[in-house]
């Protein structure tokens, strides 16, 4: 191998190695970002709504939503507890003093919004304007 061949080999291998390392770093960085947050520009409406919901929940609500598929809120006027389950309809349970379900309420935002937005609207409405929310809601059933 003469000096020209050696230099040519180095000329190709150094950029190639650097390029491969760079690509590997990009993939690792992308995976790391995916674990920590959802890039808004590329996420779906459902992803964006879920991210917004999580931003507005307290840590306890986030934990029960992730673990059990629901979170609880307290009505601002009556002090009653409500359990908001993942869902668009018939997903709000009014809880009695012993934690048992005493009624199911159904209301949400007008228009077809992603699920996270629906649940966040239900939370905000009950926590900040409970009477107005229940005023438009349907009370679907009651267990005794």
């Amino acid at each position: 191998m003469n000096a020209d061949t050696l230099l040519l080999g180095i000329g190709f291998s150094v950029p190639l190695t650097f390029g491969l390392l760079s690509a590997a770093f990009d993939v690792a960085a992308h995976r790391s970002r995916r674990r920590n947050s959802i890039p808004l520009a590329r996420s779906t409406p459902e992803d964006r709504a879920e991210a917004l919901l999580n931003e507005w929940l307290c840590p306890e609500q986030r934990a029960t939503l992730e673990r059990h598929g629901y979170f609880e809120v307290r009505g601002c006027h009556t002090g009653k507890r409500y359990r908001i389950r993942r869902g668009r309809n018939m997903n709000i349970e009014e809880l009695g003093k012993n934690g048992a379900q005493v009624a199911v309420w159904c209301f949400g935002p007008a228009g077809h919004l992603p699920l996270g937005d629906v649940m966040l609207t239900q939370k905000l409405a009950l926590e900040t304007n409970e009477q107005a929310a229940l005023g438009v809601a349907n009370r679907l059933r009651r267990r005794t």
């Binding site: 996420s43 779906t44 409406p45 459902e46 992803d47 964006r48 709504a49 991210a51 917004l52 507005w56 929940l57 307290c58 840590p59 306890e60 609500q61 668009r88 309809n89 018939m90 159904c106 209301f107 949400g108 935002p109 007008a110 228009g111 077809h112 919004l113 992603p114 996270g116 937005d117 966040l120 609207t121 905000l124 409405a125 926590e127 900040t128 304007n129 107005a132 929310a133 438009v136 809601a137 349907n138």
Partner: protein, 73 residues
């Protein structure tokens, strides 16, 4: 910077504005009035997990969320 977040079909649309820019604040106030006039309700976060409704534009609010009119399911 402050942001107005409007729930919509895409999840939400965010309008950021500089609270030190009088023109941007004025535009944000017009957006607030238009949205609430169209039936949206405005809420701000007061603490983590807690929020309150606002009826009037608050130029000091860092984050205002607008959700559509409520309806029975």
């Amino acid at each position: 910077m402050a942001v107005q977040i409007v729930m919509d079909l895409t999840g939400d649309t965010r309008h950021e504005f500089d609270t030190a820019d009088a023109m941007a604040v004025s535009q944000a106030e017009r957006r607030f009035k238009w949205l609430t006039g169209a039936g949206f309700t405005a809420a701000v976060r007061t603490a983590e997990g807690r929020s309150e409704l606002i009826r009037n534009f608050d130029p000091t609010a860092e984050e205002t969320l607008f959700f559509p009119r409520l309806q029975g399911g």
